[in-house]
């Protein structure tokens, strides 16, 4: 009966009801879309950073992230690999050795990050191989692939032979010529304008880095279960006291914090908007309920309990909430799905942020049942809350007082 009364009350004032439903449907659609866009852009940003180079799980010497120097390298790489390679859940693993070198061509010199990789495995851990124009690395020769912007500055092209000078692991001078096999363009400023990749086998001879690596990258079978895999690896390496196993959130600390702060600013903005909307919906409900004071007074006078009045009014909020979820939620889901399939192209905006280490040219939305439920539950709650105060207020009046009200 309560539900029936609530439905009748809603239809008794069609204009007010449709305004409330429109407003909260609009909010539901906006919230579903906003959360979808925010999460989508953040996920893309993180995924790009992880899959383009840094990886999901990394084994490294303790403190390497803060002190990436020769004192913090893994000097027993093969022993560690032997320990972990049969762990279930590891799809692949690779070792890298990173240092800095000064590259010189006939016309110019530039510092660059010098990365030694296992060529046959690198494609599982970075975009470098797929971004190369020309050929990728060979296992043992002094071939190199260079960032396209770096090559431009050095004034070298494919087939060119720049020299480099750096420091070997024994702190002697490590220098040689490299033959450029290809140039890559990843979209990441740090790489395109400042990185050179060579094969690890070749670098091991020059830098005396056999069995030495900066870190070991692990690719999980199921990327969603990276934490479980990280724990398994940690357990297997518990006797290696100076070794730590990090997951992508720990590797990309800076980016994780950047995403958090971006979310915080976004949610503050949306919270202000929703508080304003909440007040308006509450006002609508208040006005609608208070204008029915006389009617409610009569109900009370003939014996209807306060709780039935309260439940009836709350049921109205429930119905409004439900309608908003159905109308607004589906509209929001539809729009979000559209932008998930057709990401927003941001062109020059993304281009401008490349130098800060972000690489995005499009922002996709993401629609997941979890995010959808969070958004619509919030709107539903907002509708219920917005009738509670007016319902409580009208219940405070004694029946005689209420009947006398206009």
């Amino acid at each position: 009966m309560i539900f029936k009364m609530a439905v009748r009350n809603i239809f008794a004032n069609k204009l007010r009801s449709s305004l409330i439903v429109s407003l909260s449907s609009f909010c539901a659609a906006l919230l579903v879309f906003y959360i979808g866009m925010t999460e989508g852009s953040h996920r893309k940003m993180m995924k790009d950073a992880i899959e383009s180079y840094s990886g999901y799980i990394r084994i490294q010497y303790k403190g390497f992230s803060d002190n990436p120097d020769y004192d913090h390298l893994i000097y027993d790489t093969s022993e560690i690999i032997d320990k972990i390679k049969d762990i279930r859940g590891i799809r692949n693993y690779t070792t890298r050795f990173e240092t800095y070198a000064l590259l010189s061509s006939e016309n110019n010199s530039f510092p660059a990050m010098f990365v030694a990789v296992e060529p046959e495995k690198e494609e599982y851990f970075s975009d470098i191989k797929h971004s190369v124009e020309g050929k990728f690395l060979n296992k043992d020769e002094n071939y190199a692939v260079l960032g396209a912007d770096l090559a431009k500055k050095l004034d070298v092209t494919e087939g060119g032979k720049p020299a480099y000078i750096s420091t070997g692991l024994d702190y002697s001078i490590a220098a040689d010529f490299i033959k450029i096999r290809g140039l890559f363009k990843t979209g990441f400023y740090d790489f395109d304008s400042g990185a050179v990749f060579v094969s690890k086998e070749y670098a091991d001879n020059i830098f005396m880095s056999k069995n030495v690596s900066s870190y070991i990258n692990i690719l999980p079978e199921d990327i969603g279960k990276y934490k479980e895999l990280q724990a398994k690896i940690q357990e297997r390496l518990r006797n290696f006291k100076n070794i730590e196993v990090l997951n992508w959130r720990e590797i990309q600390k800076e980016l994780v914090k950047a995403v958090q702060i971006d979310s915080i600013f976004g949610y503050i903005t949306i919270a202000i908007f929703f508080t304003v909307v909440f007040f308006v919906i509450m006002l609508f409900n208040m006005v609608a309920i208070m204008t029915r004071s006389r009617e409610i007074g009569v109900l009370r006078a003939i014996g209807t309990s306060k709780s039935v009045v309260f439940k009836t009014l709350t049921a109205e909020g429930f119905i409004f909430g439900l309608l908003s979820i159905i109308i607004g939620g589906s509209a929001g889901a539809f729009i979000t799905y559209y932008f998930q399939e057709n990401p927003i192209q941001i062109g020059e905006y993304g281009e401008a942020y490349k130098e800060l280490g972000f690489s995005f040219t499009e922002i996709p939305a993401t629609l997941t049942p979890g995010l959808f439920m969070i958004s619509v539950s919030f709107i539903f709650l907002l509708n219920i809350l917005s009738v509670i105060i007016p319902a409580w207020q009208v219940n405070k009046l004694n029946p005689v007082e209420a009947i006398r009200k206009i």
């Binding site: 800095y100 702060i261 971006d262 503050i268 280490g357």
Partner: protein, 401 residues
């Protein structure tokens, strides 16, 4: 008399009026805070960029930025700098040498940008405290390095660093330097890459032959920026690439532009929602007093006067909300403008976007104007429907209630 009547009317239903005033106040406070915060962040980035660049305009030899090759540096820079100095509205001019090189400590090598600055030229070191400059000037082998770079290299003040790069003549040259200070400029790229060294020493070490890689121009006022840029472009057509900060830092300019749309949308949304709220309250209030209005019209009160009472009621509600919200919002802005909002926990993330971890809000009188326009327009527009409602009713019908 009508003003008094309208003002008294809005207090007939105190709860509703209070809610609508709270609604307007809250939305304005929120809008002020966000607008001031975002504007402050952008202004801070612009200020940092100008300080770090020793001016609003940087002038390069045409091909230098494409190649980063020292052979494309500016010859006879002193006379060119003097020429620019002579342009009206130029406050000061300085020159820099920027070379891509490697910084090495006993344990680590890093790619860096070696920047030769004349610290005795005030305009060149706007981003440095006098104390830092004095220390730096004590020895020509002193260097100042960015905080991010110092962190990576694990060096402190007093430590030695070897800088290597190719000289202008193509030789590989190295020199030992001592870190006199570590600075945080607010620009992540400068903090992670920059090594500031003595201009004359860099000039001779890297065989620059009295050439520089860039000339930096500070204008007297921001309004002169366009004029000065055009004048330099005209004087050195085809020779120089002249970049005001907007072109040098497109991401800042884009953020600034985006903020205009963001603010417009925010005000638009709040305007719409506030209008709906006021409309609801005023319409119901008019409906409740239909009998009173009917009597007033029957005894000869013109519709014009009735309409003005309704408009005034709506206006007073908006103005009260505006007074409370405007004052609170403005006070919050002033507070955060003085003491800053410390987001130290997110420092790494903030720096990634190029922001300082302590944010200072901007306080601009025009915020009040925008808010005033939005709220007053919303209130007046919201009163239109109730007025039409009254006009459409017949006095007799109204008197019956």
């Amino acid at each position: 008399m009508f003003e008094k009547l309208a003002f008294k009317n809005i207090w007939r239903r105190k709860t509703r009026t209070v809610i609508i005033i709270v609604l307007i106040s809250f939305s304005l406070t929120g809008l002020f805070f966000l607008q001031g915060l975002y504007d402050g962040m952008i202004e801070n980035m612009i200020e940092n960029a100008i300080k770090n660049d020793a001016g609003e305009i940087v002038v390069y030899e045409k091909d230098f930025r494409k190649t980063d090759n020292l052979k494309n540096s500016i010859n006879d820079y002193k006379s060119k700098a003097n020429d620019i100095r002579g342009i009206k509205h130029v406050e000061h001019v300085s020159s820099r040498i920027t070379i891509a090189g490697v910084a090495a400590t006993g344990r680590k090598n890093m790619g860096v940008k070696i920047i030769g600055i004349s610290a005795d030229n005030k305009g060149n070191v706007l981003f440095l405290d006098q104390e830092v400059v004095d220390k730096f000037l004590k020895n020509k082998r002193n260097i100042i390095i960015g905080a991010g770079l110092a962190e990576k290299l694990k060096v402190k003040s007093g430590n030695k660093v070897v800088l290597s790069a190719q000289s202008r003549k193509g030789k590989l040259v190295s020199g030992a330097f001592r870190v006199s200070d570590i600075v945080k400029t607010g620009d992540p790229l400068v903090d992670k890459q920059a090594v500031f060294a003595d201009f004359s020493f860099i000039n001779s070490l890297f065989e620059m032959d009295n050439t520089v890689t860039s000339i930096h121009v500070k204008v007297k006022s921001n309004t002169d920026l366009f004029l000065v840029t055009s004048e330099i472009e005209a004087r050195f057509k085809g020779v120089f690439e002249v970049l005001p900060w907007q072109k040098r830092y497109p991401r800042i300019q884009l953020s600034k532009d985006s903020l205009i749309y963001y603010n417009a949308i925010s005000y638009g949304v709040v305007f719409f929602v506030v209008a709906l709220g006021v409309l609801d309250v005023i319409l119901i209030s008019v409906m409740e007093r239909l009998k009173e209005f009917g009597i007033l019209i029957s005894i000869g009160t013109p519709y014009r006067k009735i309409a003005s009472v309704i408009f005034l009621e709506s206006l007073f509600t908006g103005v009260l909300g505006m007074i409370f919200g405007g004052s609170l919002g403005y006070l919050i802005l002033i507070y955060f403008n003085k003491s800053g909002l410390d987001l130290g926990y997110f420092a790494e993330g903030m720096e990634k976007f190029g922001f300082n971890s302590v944010l200072y809000t901007d306080v601009r009188p025009e915020y009040l104007l925008y808010a005033f326009t939005a709220v007053i327009s919303a209130s007046l527009i919201a009163a239109v429907v109730p007025v039409i409602y009254i006009i459409r009713k017949k006095p007799l019908e109204m008197t019956r209630g």
